[in-house]
Amino acid sequence: MKAPLKWLKDYVDIDIPYRELAYKLTLAGLEVSDIKVIGGSWDNVVVGQITAVNPHPNADRLRLATVDLGQKQMTVVCGAPNLAVGDKIAFAAVGAKLLDGHTGQLTELKPAKIRGVASEGMVCSEKELGISDNHEGILVLPPDLEVGKALSDYLADIIFDIDITPNRADCLSIMGIAREVAAITGKEFRLPDLSYKESGKEIGSYAAVEIKAPDLCPRYCASVIDGIKIGPSPKWMQDRLLACGMRPISNIVDVTNYVMLEFGQPLHAFDYREIRGKKIIVRRAAEGEVMYTLDQVERKFSSDHLMIADAERAVAVAGIMGGLSSEVTPGTTVILLESANFNQAVIHKGSLNLKLSSEASTRFEKGLNPELALIALKRATQLMADLGGGSVAKGLIDVYPGKTEKKPVAISSSDTARLLGMDIKNDEIRKYLESLGLKCNPDAATGKILVEIPWWRNDIACTADLVEEVARVVGYDNIPTTTLSSSLPGGEGASMVTFRQEVRDILVACGFQEVITYPLTNLETLNKLSPDLNLTGPQPLAMANPMSRDLEFLRTSLRFGVLTVLARNQRNREENIRLFEMGKVFIPRAKDLPLENEMLCGLIDSVAPDAYWAGKAEMADFYSAKGAVEALLSRMGLQAVFQAGEDVTISPGKCAHIIVDGEKLGVIGEVHPRVRAGFDIQSPAFLFEIDMDKLKALCGGKQLIFKAVTKFPSTERDIALLIDIQVTYEKVAGIISGFPLVVGVRLFDLYAGEQIPAGKKSLAFRITYQAEDHTLTDEEVEAVQQKIVEKLAADFGAGLRS
């Protein structure tokens, strides 16, 4: 809402600097988001009068204007089409700072010779003065201004741009803002005079109003002005409309807009000749009813829309836009002026589904009080009769089926103490509330103040609302600052957050970069997780109003996110990428919110970084991913079994299920080459996925128990075995570590190929022996080692490799 300072001053005296006022309004909830100073730079701009206009000797489109400035005469070269002798204009002398009409930059006016003729200054357009965007011609000033006086004495203004919160529809008006200014600066608020002369026929002879949908139209008021003459509105009114961002149209339309800005009540002027049957009917639209709106669009309506109709047809969409047929035109002579109140929901819905939002609809949908309708109607009728001539019909139409009484609300100093933490006496509370126009009646019996809520404050309904009013007038700055002294809550809160952080920290320590991707995608992307482009599993939930085709479905997997991120960064020539994402997947459930299952998905690419000068960089492989999972699980105190398995996204034969305590926790493996290709990933990539909810449940049962560190030394023995190629590492290592005194088994070499018989491989282990209670002798170690060799020979036919 734009509020010019001069306009506000019509209703309240303002004697504090405008910046201070803006700050006070902001603190009180009316945030001044911008301040435009008109005339702030008009140091050398004065009122002048054109005394002569002569042709330019060297240019057809330029003229020489002689300007009288009182003390002296100046000659300027001017190209404006509307130079007229006798007009008062804004004259800028050399040194004045003006906005360049073309670039919009503030520039200092320099002496200039234009086509050989010296120009001693400039006659300004509205745009050059920063008043409006009009650069068609020069600004013509009202004739009563004094020649030679500074222009800023007349035209300068400060325009506040104020963000109005949705609860304060009353402040979508100069009047509402002026009330606030009065309260927070301790000044009196003045309502303008609303009187006018009724010299016409009885209003009943012109029209009657019937409300067929009283639930949607609590009040409908109207007046009639006969014998009006359509023309432009006066300059002062046009200036104010322009300052508030509205375009002047004609005296009648401008008055409706002016009063809407002034009081916040949208009004609509009908050309009375087009109202058939002397009747205004407020009703729901018939299903499929059509009407041309003012913007010359034929629109179709349903019973969700509220219409204003005459005896035969619709003439306006209530509260949103007038109809074309009853539009005020230059030939209009009788005006039927509507000032009504409509249900906010019906306007809101209507404006949404017609995709038609107007200054009127935005005010109605925030909720206006029906009391306003009559007050604003009187003001507009007065102005219209004033500016358009004509006589006002006797009486007003006022159909008011929705009149409601507001209940008084109680407040006392105990309420402000309890909610604000501030000691404010009842007398002070009363003073603050009365400054806002709230009537206070102390109730001796209860010690409370009963506050009558004025009609314009739809937002006050309970004590807390009044407490806020007190706080606003006191000033939020003056509320004390204390720390919480309430007792601490019991319980432990959501332990998932801490758990998640632990897991993230471990992966980061393993060199993984965390990423966060959107949870919405399209089905094609989800299907790409399967080599045959047909992902089975739960049907993902869809959005009812997706923002785009690519953001339609809620993910049931995290995998596509990390795969997409990998591809994207490979294109940026990144190498050695390790990513993880932790987030929710959404599994639909019948008649309930989806199951939000927290998952972890990691991805490693195999592209090794450029060789390092001190050695060759290694390519990542399946075991790089496995190492990370092992590190994570062992840090969480879990021991995982990796079981050969299958997964749709992962290459067969290079896939393992991650099993802990017999439960499948996740999966790991090399991304299937066709899936990889689908995501445009150039080289092998290795993925792991872990169910965080299951992981947390498993960790929940684990209690870490300290194990004593042995004082006695350990000893190591190497053993190289020749064994069938099918025998897995896990089986061999399992047997070795099952022997007493064995505390560590490490595979340090794996070989198959030349020098080894076909179908065999060589495994070399370093076995660590240690006893908890004594230093081992060679004999003890040899004895165990011998038994290990025998057992492996017996179980797998393993032989020692010499």
């Binding site: 603190l27 911008d34 501030m422 807390a464 994207r568 000068w613």
Partner: protein, 345 residues
């Protein structure tokens, strides 16, 4: 005796010539100047000698001892120099790049969320969470925003395609973390002190300052006698811990349907110090938090008597914190996941 001293002297000097390492030099010192060395024994046994001999031998032995000690010091210097000299010959190019360590990093949103939560946890707040796909009831109604409430326009909503038997469409992507307030109050009795971090979604076209997915942290404290002054103290302290102790805070009236009185908290712009610049939109202030006293209707709806209990609630955008702190000029970078961006944090 004298000859013995001379023998010691000559063999010591001869041996010293052969010493090339520090360890050998120590052995030489023990042998010739140690407590059990011949020379020290001779000096120790002087008392038993006749006076004349004692004087001669004593003088000679002391002279030799001094010489040997001097030679020892010289030799040590010599060895030190030569060790350094040979180390110098093995010097390395310290300008060569170090062996690369592959560091992982947290996403900047995760980091900022943690930073915010840590401050509130240190003030006794517990962490709570709620679902990202919510019922309209928790996202709006229970927060004092019935259907057609004008404030709903501020929450462009992504609705889930789920229709009930009665034809309503009550499931949505939560537009803020405030529904967690309701879920907490439904299940917990005061004293309550929680914060709820999480992701939220809006039906919004993206540009440099708008993203349809972002993160919030919600806070809630409910007990007897919690006041707006407590809210002010708690959140001013938070702002100072997050943005530095010299920050000034502005506390102004604002409107959110689920609080009353409502508050917005801003800090003075750290770029321009309050004079007005591009970062603060020329106002000198940067808004960081919306807050207020929990609306009595919201408390009542959760079965908490507003005549007995009061509380405050607040909410803030998470991405905004790193955007302000590090001067990030495009919010889309957060979920674009370009490593060149992510690795900076």
């Amino acid at each position: 005796m004298l000859s013995q001293v001379d023998e010691v002297a000559s063999s010591a000097h001869a041996d010293l010539q052969k010493v090339t390492r520090l360890a050998d030099l120590e052995a030489w010192r023990v042998r010739y100047l140690g407590r059990k060395s011949k020379l020290i024994n001779i000096l120790r046994s002087l008392a038993a000698l006749p006076v004349d001999e004692r004087r001669d031998v004593g003088a000679r032995a002391n002279q030799v001892k001094n010489q040997l000690e001097q030679s020892l010091a010289q030799k040590k210097d010599e060895l030190d120099r030569s060790v350094n000299l040979s180390l110098q010959k093995e010097s390395i190019d310290i300008s060569l790049p170090g062996r690369p360590y592959h560091l992982g990093r947290l996403h900047p949103t995760t980091r900022a969320t943690k930073e915010i939560c840590d401050i509130f946890v240190s003030m006794g707040f517990q962490i709570a969470e709620g679902p990202e796909v919510e019922w309209e009831y928790y996202n709006f109604e229970a927060l004092n925003m019935p259907a057609e409430h004008p404030a709903r326009d501020g929450f462009a909503t992504l609705w889930v395609d789920y229709v009930t038997e009665s034809g309503t469409r009550p499931m949505l992507m939560r537009t803020h973390t405030s529904p967690v307030q309701i879920r907490v109050m439904e299940h917990t009795r005061p004293p309550i002190r929680v914060i709820a971090p999480g992701r939220v979604y809006r039906y919004e076209a993206t540009d440099a300052t708008h993203e349809w997915m972002f993160s919030q942290v919600e806070g809630l404290a409910v007990d007897k006698n919690i006041t707006l002054a407590d809210l002010k103290g708690t959140l001013f302290e938070f702002a100072r811990r997050l943005f530095g102790k010299d920050r000034k805070c502005r506390f102004r009236c604002d409107y959110f349907p689920f609080v009353e009185p409502g508050v917005e908290i801003a800090i003075d712009c750290f770029m321009c110090g309050g004079k007005g610049c591009r970062l603060c939109g020329n106002s000198g202030w940067i808004e960081i938090l919306g807050a207020g006293m929990v609306h009595p209707e919201v408390l009542r709806g959760c079965g908490i008597d507003p005549e007995v209990y009061s509380g405050f609630a607040f909410g803030m955008g998470v991405e905004r914190i790193p955007i302000l702190k590090y001067g990030i000029d495009d919010i889309r970078l957060f979920y674009g996941n370009d490593l060149r961006f992510l690795r900076q944090f």
